[in-house]
């Protein structure tokens, strides 16, 4: 019976409210009547101390029946059933009507404000309080489910609040210096705004520009702490009211400008893959040199700072913060990553190796640090993109390294190096490999082919062993080089000169290997082989170049002493002729390595001189020998002539 009556009353109230509209004084009177109907919900009790801090305009009324609505940890909010259902329903409606009415008046004033509400912290506080009350009221109405009309009205009011909050939210993020710092008086004079601008305004925020930065442990605070807390307050209300998605979109839209500008300041030009593909290397190298610090700057400072800001703004409001963060940083992150892809897809000329290694290392070193930044499921895709570009750069390095092999193999044997000296390709390859060894940890990593694991735990690779992939590959390159040099040696018409050529290049290779970490990689076994190869070349040279000399100097063993003096003289003449010939030709030949040159000369001297001495003494002791025997060269002369070989002096 009583319930029935209440229902009727409720319907009447709803009807009255509907027909009367919103802010008619009559409505208020009627509402007053209804609220006096039950003493439990007197206005005094309801509107106790809440509105004290609010502006004068709203001093008369304010606050709400719902009380402070605390932030729930997750968006779907369980509405607090503040009102016991049946018995209190009717009076509650009445008081809620009243509340909504006052809130409407109060909020309408704020929403109509032609300046930022947050320009005045007292206004902002009052507005937030009103919004809180409204959210509470809506929840209460929703839970009660008895007054659809009032709920709709409150909802409509809420949507207006949210639109305004979104505007304020965006303004606070985009132009925090338009808003005065929260001054005690609550009013911001023009002067103070200017001061703020000049001293510690957002525009002066130290955004590092492409200077060499070694310490990346920097966080940019794009917003002053006061703004962050203001913005967080708004975000909380929007999420509470079920407008979390709008809030995330607004946040991303507002941050994107800052992020775009920050990246632009790093001097990064956006290039298409096609452009990178056709760019001259010098220009691309320049781009890479700018990209590396920019990439570090963005992924080590800018994006983590964005993450921090986002986490603070959306503190306790997951997953909206994650959504907002990805939407804000995605484009710029991808754009930077895309350059890595473009470089990977471009030419594999060997000279590119070192720059690509730099890029790879920059990305690889960054990966572990990204985990806390891209930890949520929304940014996992970004994390995967960074991993992917790391892999792509890795295989590009591998490809470039292989291309070197290709180039060596294809290097044609056209012009011979004069004097059998060191071929440019030998110098190039050895210096290249030596330089590459400087990055051998990285090279090993990519050669190992275990690219999938890159970015996880660092692969435990010991590059200092000849069985490592890199070592095997370098040994292979050395082999290819050796084969190429052998082919090149064939264009010398003089076989001894070909031996000199191989010897020179072999010695150069040994020298360069010993002089660097290549020695560790290639190992002792390889070195032994290489040295015996050079020795073999030296022997081949001696045999080839001096065989006829030696045969001329042969005077037979001690038993055969019957060679006539005439024959001995003939031998001497021939020796003189050969020596002239050899010296004429071979003084132009080159042995670049001083030690080797000495060794070869010594070896020649050691075999030629004693034989020559033998021939001369034989001649002198020959009974038929003429008294006025003319010996053109003393053994010391011969030695001196030999000492002048291989100096590469052309006449």
């Amino acid at each position: 019976m009583a319930e029935d009556g209440e229902e009727k009353l409720l319907a009447t109230v709803q009807h009255i409210v509907k027909t009367l509209g919103r802010t008619d004084t009559m409505t208020e009177d009627i509402l007053k009547v209804f609220s006096n109907y039950d003493g439990r919900l007197s206005l005094d009790k309801l509107y106790a101390t809440r509105a004290a801090a609010a502006a004068a305009a709203v001093a008369a009324a304010g606050g709400g029946a719902a009380g402070e609505h605390s932030v729930p940890a997750s968006p779907p909010m369980p509405p607090p059933p503040a009102v016991p259902p049946a018995a209190a329903a009717m009076p509650a409606v009445t008081s809620l009507e009243r509340t909504v009415r006052t809130l409407d008046r109060q909020i309408s004033q704020f929403v109509a404000m032609d300046r930022l509400i947050w320009a005045d912290s007292a206004d902002a506080d009052a507005f937030l309080e009103a919004v809180d009350d409204l959210i509470g009221t809506v929840q209460e109405l929703d839970a009660a489910g008895t007054n659809r009309g009032l709920l709709d009205r409150a909802d409509e009011l809420l949507s207006r609040c949210m639109a305004r909050l979104e505007d304020e939210f965006r303004a606070l993020i985009e132009r925090p210096d338009d808003v005065a710092p929260a001054a005690p008086g609550g009013f911001a004079s023009d002067e103070s705004e200017e001061d703020y601008d000049a001293d510690d305004g957002y525009g002066d925020e130290p955004i590092p520009i492409a200077k060499p930065v070694s310490d990346f442990d920097v966080v940019i605070d794009a917003l002053p702490p006061g703004s962050v807390s203001d913005v967080h307050q708004i975000a909380r209300r929007m999420v509470d009211a079920g407008f979390g998605r709008e809030c995330a979109e607004a946040y991303a839209a507002a941050r994107r400008g800052f992020i775009d500008e920050s990246v632009a300041r790093l001097g990064i030009r956006s290039r298409t893959i096609d452009e990178v593909h056709s760019l001259p290397w010098e220009e691309l190298e320049f781009d890479i040199a700018r990209w590396i610090p920019a990439f570090k700057m963005v992924f080590r400072i800018l994006i983590p700072s964005e993450r921090r800001l986002c986490d603070r703004v959306f503190d306790g409001l997951a997953p909206y913060g994650d959504l907002a963060f990805v939407a804000a940083v995605r484009t710029q992150a991808l754009q930077l990553i895309s350059f890595g892809d473009a470089v990977s897809a471009a030419s594999r000329a060997p000279e590119r190796l070192f720059r690509v290694i730099d890029m790879y290392e920059a990305v690889r070193d960054l990966l572990p640090d990204l985990d806390p930044v891209f930890s949520d499921p929304y940014s996992a895709a970004l994390r995967a993109e960074v991993s992917a570009v790391c892999n792509t750069l890795g295989s590009s390095i591998k490809g470039i390294f292989m291309e070197l092999e290709n180039l060596i193999r294809r290097d044609p044997a056209r012009v011979s190096v004069p004097g059998g000296g060191i071929h440019p390709i030998t110098r190039y390859v050895m210096n290249y490999l030596r330089a590459a060894c400087g990055s051998r940890q990285t090279l090993e990593e990519v050669m190992e082919g275990d690219l999938g694991a890159v970015g996880g735990a660092a692969i435990a690779v010991d590059p200092d062993r000849p069985t490592s992939s890199l070592a095997v590959h370098i040994a292979w390159i050395m082999d290819v080089l050796h084969k190429n040099l052998e082919t090149k040696s064939k264009i010398y018409r003089d076989p001894p000169l070909a031996s000199i050529f191989l010897m020179n290049n072999g010695k150069y290779i040994i020298h360069k290997v010993n002089d660097s970490e290549l020695g560790v990689l290639l190992g002792d076994e390889w070195m032994k082989q290489m040295m015996s190869r050079v020795r073999r070349c030296s022997l081949e040279y001696q045999r080839g170049a001096w065989a006829k000399v030696m045969s001329v100097l042969q005077t037979g063993g001690p038993g055969i002493s019957s060679l006539p003096a005439k024959a001995l003289l003939q031998k001497l003449r021939m020796f003189n002729g050969y020596l002239e010939e050899i010296c004429a030709i071979q003084s132009e030949w080159v042995i670049a390595d001083e030690q080797l040159r000495e060794d070869v000369r010594a070896a020649i001297t050691d075999s030629v001189k004693p034989a020559y001495v033998g021939l001369i003494s034989r001649l002198k002791s020959s009974p038929e020998a003429a008294q006025d025997l003319f010996i053109k060269h003393s053994p010391e002369d011969v030695e001196a002539r030999i000492q002048h070989l291989f100096e590469g002096v052309s006449k």
Binding site: R115, D152, D155, E249, S270, T331, D341, A345, S396, N406
Partner: protein
């Protein structure tokens, strides 16, 4: 050879990657010493070529699908899948030619040519990825509008306001992307509509005040800045570059000429469809059929008829009156635009409080929009992954091409 028959018949009915797997096995078998050593060389090459062309034709024919699936996210994914399968076939074909030693310098040059062409598609992949991300942003805004209006209970002014705002933000994005795409149409309708109807909703004192507080207008808040390719980049120019010099080899050109030509055509088709389907800078000119490379002669290549069928359908779709000025031919975009349009009109026509038919109209439009949003949420992620897969496969195949041509030189 029974194995060949098996391959030939099975590949048509299964668009799965297994078919290509099976084929690769077969190819290996054919390449085994038992068969390959003696006189099988020339005939092996011929058979391989024929099989390759037949497989490409089958992959393309597999894409067709149901009429209402055409240009859906799913359909684009099938197309990209077909491209990946064809590329895999091509890779195997080239590897076998090399192993047989049947790849002279001229053949290697053709392979390099294809890779150069494929590299040009990388920018299209990047643009398409950005386009997909744009779609995701549209979906997020559209879904706000749809889900607000589909909440249980009556639709009231607050919900309408909220939906209107989301739709108006969406309209800004659509207008912006349509401008970038180089067309007008639905988005320009939405733009004018925004000024008329959303304008009313947004011209609250607060909005005007906040907007007035700085020189940046509120309309620019939602401007899309999401192209990681530069704005000057043109999808239509890129497509022309991909199709440049794509001409059918003459009958006497043996070896790799035909497969390389087939791959060039398939690549162009995939890139073209991608550009046509999703928003990207300057895409509208790309839809003009006269930008297409010369059509492959139907009789000469088994894959030409299915390829041309797809091409014609795409061109036709681009010419359709209601699609010509769209941000993308993707079916889901079309539905999104249509239902956004419908919902906007329904909201405009609706008096408050909503009841009866008006409310039903709004709810119906919202339900349509919600459905397409759900489809996009499900489909866009895998589509983006597949676009990336195409990207990485192109890069990888180029690397492998270089490597194997090098080892072959020994």
């Amino acid at each position: 050879m029974p194995a060949t028959d098996y391959q030939g018949s099975s590949s048509h009915s299964h668009p799965s990657p297994f078919s290509s797997f099976g084929r690769s096995l077969l190819s290996l078998r054919r390449d085994s010493p038992a068969v390959g050593a003696s006189q099988a060389m020339p005939s092996g090459e011929e058979a391989d070529l024929e099989a390759f062309q037949r497989h490409v034709a089958a992959h393309l024919a597999d894409i067709r699908g149901e009429e209402d699936e055409f240009l859906s996210i799913e359909w684009i994914r099938r197309l990209l899948e077909a491209f990946l399968l064809c590329q895999e076939e091509f890779r195997v074909f080239v590897a076998q030619a090399r192993r047989r030693g049947a790849l002279p310098a001229a053949g290697e040059k053709l392979v390099v040519e294809f890779h150069e062409r494929a590299v040009k598609a990388l920018d299209v992949c990047n643009a398409a990825r950005d386009g997909v991300d744009q779609l995701r942003r549209w979906e997020r805004l559209a879904d706000i509008a749809a889900s607000v209006l589909l909440a249980p209970g009556e639709i009231h002014e607050g919900q309408l306001r909220r939906a209107r705002k989301a739709l108006s933000d969406l309209a800004v994005l659509l207008v912006d992307d349509t401008a970038a795409s180089g067309s007008g149409g639905v988005a320009s309708f939405l733009a004018s509509h925004r000024n008329r109807s959303f304008g009313r909703a947004r011209a609250s004192p607060s909005r005007a005040a906040v907007a007035g507080a700085s020189s940046a207008t509120s309309a620019s808040h939602f401007r899309s800045l999401s192209w990681s390719v530069s704005r000057a980049w043109s999808a239509s120019r890129q497509l022309q570059a991909i199709g440049a010099g794509l001409a059918a080899p003459r009958a006497h050109e043996a070896g790799l000429a035909a497969p390389v030509y087939a791959m060039g055509c398939v690549l162009h088709l995939a890139a073209w469809a991608l550009v046509a389907a999703v928003p990207c800078p300057d895409r509208s000119a790309a839809l003009q059929a006269h930008h297409l490379p010369a059509a492959p002669p139907r009789a000469a290549f088994p894959w030409a008829p299915p390829l041309l069928t797809l091409q014609e359908r795409l061109a036709e779709e681009g010419k359709r009156k209601d699609r010509r000025h769209s941000c993308g031919l993707l079916k889901e975009i079309h539905v999104l635009e249509k239902s956004t349009h419908k919902l906007t009109e329904a909201i405009d026509a609706a008096p408050i409080p909503l009841f009866g038919d008006r409310e039903a109209d709004v709810r119906e439009a919202a339900a349509e929009l919600a459905a397409v949003c759900a489809a996009m949420r499900d489909g866009l992620e895998p589509l983006e992954r597949q676009v990336r897969e195409v990207f990485h496969r192109i890069v990888r195949s180029r690397v492998e091409g270089l490597d194997s041509s090098m080892h072959n030189a020994d």
